[in-house]
């Protein structure tokens, strides 16, 4: 049965989409506003979708609750910025409306907005592989998958019906029929054939502010590339004078001191590609972020590695230089002189601050490779 509600729901989505389109720049630059939810949904807060009313503000918020607790004990977190959120009434700060849109949808909006061309992949078609997920409950199954709680609830129900449950002796003994087991189904999952390798300078001159820029930018890069490839691998390399491969969390949260040797990161990257990502099979994307400092003597080695192996192997090699009060910004010029601004695979971009992310993404991904 087709409900009329579908029309209203799609109308609502159109309006939401319109809102996002209008304000995309705002969301791109405030990437941290986007709470990542699960694997394929993001939630975007849209405070203005409320029909405005005259209503009480922040100092009227509060209510009456029930339970234990001393006076002064916090019971719920408030919204730090206050304005535009929460409702007077018996509810504690009601959250702003968050609209979940799928990453695909978000990428489509991003693509429309930045006019990004679709990417021509190379390599073999994707191979799908089955993956097991536990989704339901059955009456038969191996003991190792027995659902304890459900089994006992069934047994309790049966005993109550039979009248064998005694208040004085409340023992519940499951029979064979009461047992319940978890059950699974197979879900086909695509095998990744694209990989993004992120490299970042974590030497002392890169502060948290710069890292935030990198984090926001890589979120949008991920989002776009995910929409282009069914599966996507991500690898992270950090370096100061020496480099190593790390996980995502470490990547964004490490701060080292000491010198900077970019070639060390290139070397780890080379090894990684050699060991795991055959360029014939994989679409390789390298993104390097730094404040532009490098140890002078190292430039020659770094350029050689770029030219001989990294650039030929990759679909794209992107260098993003985040402006920092401490960095010299030298490396951008070195690359520019060596390869020129219009290189096929090497793309250079200077990111001044958060506002610059938008243009930087456009530059990186605008070629459709």
């Amino acid at each position: 049965m087709v409900m009329k509600i579908d029309r209203d729901a799609s109308r609502f989505k159109q309006i939401v989409r319109g809102k996002i389109r209008d304000n995309l720049r705002k969301y791109v630059t405030h990437g941290e506003m986007i709470g990542r939810k699960g694997n394929d949904l993001v939630s975007i807060p849209l405070p203005q979708l409320d029909v405005p009313h005259f209503r009480y503000g922040q100092n009227g918020r509060g209510g009456v609750g029930q339970g234990e607790g001393e006076v002064g004990q916090p019971i719920a977190a408030g919204d730090p910025d206050g304005e535009g959120q929460g409702q007077a009434g018996s509810d504690a700060g009601q959250h702003v409306l968050e609209v979940d849109i799928s990453l695909d949808e978000l990428a489509a909006i991003l693509g429309d907005e930045l006019q990004l061309p679709r990417i021509e992949p190379k390599g073999k078609a994707n191979i799908n592989q089955d993956k097991v997920r536990y989704t339901s409950v059955r009456r038969v199954g191996p003991e190792s998958l027995r659902h304890f709680r459900r089994t006992y609830v069934e047994a309790l129900k049966r005993q109550l019906t039979e009248g064998t449950y005694k208040l004085a002796d409340p023992r519940v003994i499951p029979h064979k029929d009461d047992r319940r087991y978890r059950s699974w189904e197979s879900v086909p999952e695509p095998v990744a054939n694209a990989v993004i390798i992120y490299m970042m300078d974590v030497s002392g001159s890169m502060t948290d502010e710069q890292k935030e820029v990198v984090r926001t930018e890589s979120f949008w890069i991920d989002t776009w590339l995910r929409s282009q490839y069914k599966g996507l691998e991500r690898r992270y390399i950090i370096h100061d004078a020496a480099a190593k491969e790390v996980d995502e969390h470490t990547f964004y949260h490490t701060r080292e001191s000491g010198g900077t040797r970019i070639s060390s990161a290139y070397k780890v990257c080379q090894e990684l590609v050699k060991a795991k990502f055959d360029p014939a099979e994989w679409n390789i994307y390298c993104f390097q972020f730094s404040d532009g400092d490098n140890w002078g003597e190292d430039n020659r080695a770094a350029l050689a590695m770029l030219k001989d192996s990294l650039m030929p192997q990759s679909n794209l090699f992107c260098y993003g230089q985040v402006e920092s009060p401490y960095g010299s910004g030298e490396y951008y010029r070195v690359l520019d002189e060596a390869f020129g601004a219009d290189h096929e695979t090497l793309i250079l971009s200077e990111i001044e601050n958060k506002e610059g992310i938008y243009d930087s993404i456009k530059k990186f991904l605008g070629k459709g490779k």
């Binding site: 009480y56 029930q66 607790g69 018996s90 109550l160």
Partner: protein, 511 residues
């Protein structure tokens, strides 16, 4: 009405259950309209609930938004609607098809509680009992306007109307605020208003200055002029029902007047439901638990019943559960009136044990709660029956937002403060009280509203956006007087920009 009949009706097993439950309910003295049950799946139920219970309602994006949230909440297992009842004659109740049999029993008993409440509570007395037909009618009219004037045009006008939908007079259905306009009363054209003159008594000339003293004449004249001015002022008294005023006086096209009146009618229809949330849910819960525990339940239902009750009656620290508070208050009242634990004698007694064991064998409990459900709304219900003992027993506390810590914190467990907070949240359904004061402000046809400040400020960004929508209806500058940062200010919108005037205190403090 066709839309309703696409749903499934009851199976014979469920029809049996329904007959049983109806019989139990009637035996307890519940009095309700004929009730029709429809069985729907969760998607349909989410859709119907999004429309506020009326599948034939006019199209609008906010119903879609509501639906998305309900449907998502259900599929993520965050929330579940078991049932939905519509205040109408006959009552319509929607049941979730996937409910277990025990749930159906419980829900049906619950539904009869709601139906009785709709029919008998005084606050519902003036609601339309043919709302299903009216809503369908509203829907058709708005769809027709959308066809003629464009979806965007009509929908965005509805948005503007919704912005002021809470500016109605909740008590208006029960009070005669002004004489009905008599359409057959024609004023005589010759009955022109004369210039006011002071009353002169007959006197001899030499006595005139004593019999008609000049000061008295002037005073009377001034008085008369003032009254005349008041008559000319629009509205003559500050008015709560801003929507009505706009309907009668705003420069709107005929279709816009109709849309505004639709939004207003629906606001009045739904208002009593917001005013009696605690009482209505409490009453329905009281009856489903009474009927289920005494008659309705088979042994095999117990676990499911207990599970259900644990879910719906769970207390929360950040939100007062209306089901829980309502049912407990009814039970408390029933107990007190059974024991005779009320009145001056009881209140004057300060012996804890004597009060606890107080029992005059009065047995008026049941009778009393029927009376309570007839005459009260949530505000008066809490005001009259929330007692110190109840507050302690149920561990109620008030909480508020602490700006320094950014957390909601427990403020107090003192009875007075808890009750005060609760009453504040229920006053005018938790919305600020706003009057329309002048429709010819500054003698320029501008609209002037007044927020009766009661200690809590308006949220200024919302207030500004509301003014923008109000401007779209009035089409002249709009103002609202309120208090912000402890001084009286007037927020204005003139069609282009917002302004704020009058907060001299603040500037003075800064300078």
């Amino acid at each position: 009405m066709t839309a309703l009949h696409r749903f499934r009706s009851l199976t014979s097993e469920m029809a049996d259950i329904q007959r049983q439950m109806e019989e139990h309910a009637r035996r307890y003295g519940l009095d309700f309209f004929n009730t029709i049950f429809e069985v729907v799946d969760h998607d349909q139920l989410s859709a119907v609930a999004a429309y506020g219970g009326f599948p034939t309602r006019y199209p609008h994006w906010r119903f879609g938004m509501e639906y998305e949230q309900l449907a998502k909440g259900y599929s993520y297992g965050l929330q579940k609607i078991y049932e939905l009842v519509i205040n109408n004659d006959p009552c319509y109740a929607y049941l979730l098809a996937s409910n277990a049999v025990t749930d159906h029993k419980l829900v049906m008993a619950h539904v009869y509680g709601h139906c009785d409440f709709f029919k008998n509570n005084a606050w519902f007395a003036h609601t339309s009992r043919k709302m299903i037909d009216e809503m369908a009618n509203h829907g058709n009219r708005i769809r027709d306007y959308m066809d003629r004037f464009g979806v965007e045009e009509v929908e965005s006008f509805i948005d503007a109307c919704l912005s002021v939908e809470d500016l109605i007079d909740l008590h208006a259905p029960h009070i005669k605020r002004r004489d009905e306009k008599n359409q057959y009363h024609f004023t005589d054209a010759t009955e022109v208003e004369e210039e006011p003159t002071a009353t002169r008594f007959q006197s001899k000339r030499y006595m005139d200055s004593f019999i008609n003293p000049r000061a008295a004449l002037e005073h009377e004249l001034a008085q008369k002029k003032k009254e005349l001015e008041k008559k000319e002022q629009l509205p003559s008294e500050p008015q709560r029902d801003v929507m009505l005023f706009l309907l009668e006086h705003a420069p709107l096209k005929p279709w816009q007047v109709d849309v505004l009146s639709i939004v207003r009618d629906e606001a009045y229809y739904f208002a009593p439901q917001a005013q009696t949330k605690i009482m209505n849910e409490g009453w329905a819960t009281y009856w489903h638990s009474t009927i289920m525990t005494r008659h309705g339940m088979a042994d095999s239902d117990l676990v499911c019943y207990a599970d259900h009750c644990a879910g719906t009656l769970a207390g929360s620290r950040t939100r007062l559960n209306p089901y829980k508070l309502g049912v407990e208050l009814y039970r408390d009242i029933e107990d007190r009136w059974n024991r005779g634990a009320f009145g001056d004698e009881f209140d004057a007694c300060d012996d804890y044990l004597a009060k606890r064991d107080w029992d005059k064998q009065l047995g008026q409990g049941r009778q009393k709660i029927f009376e309570v459900r007839r005459i009260h709304n949530d505000l008066t219900f809490i005001d009259s029956y929330l007692t110190l003992d109840f507050c302690r027993q149920h561990k109620l506390f008030s909480f508020g937002f602490n700006e320094d810590s950014g957390y909601y914190e427990i403020e107090s467990r003192e009875f007075d403060k808890v009750k005060q907070r609760l009453l504040f949240n229920l006053t005018n359904v938790g919305r600020p009280i706003i009057y329309l004061k002048d429709a010819n402000y500054k003698n320029r046809g501008e609209l002037f509203l007044e927020h009766r400040f009661s200690g809590v400020e308006l949220q200024s960004n919302y207030a500004q956006d509301t003014l923008v929508n109000l401007y779209r209806l009035w089409k002249r500058p709009v103002h609202i007087e309120t208090n912000l940062e402890e001084s009286s200010v007037t927020l204005s919108f003139d069609g282009k920009e917002h302004s704020r005037s009058g907060d001299t205190k603040k500037q003075g403090a800064k300078g």
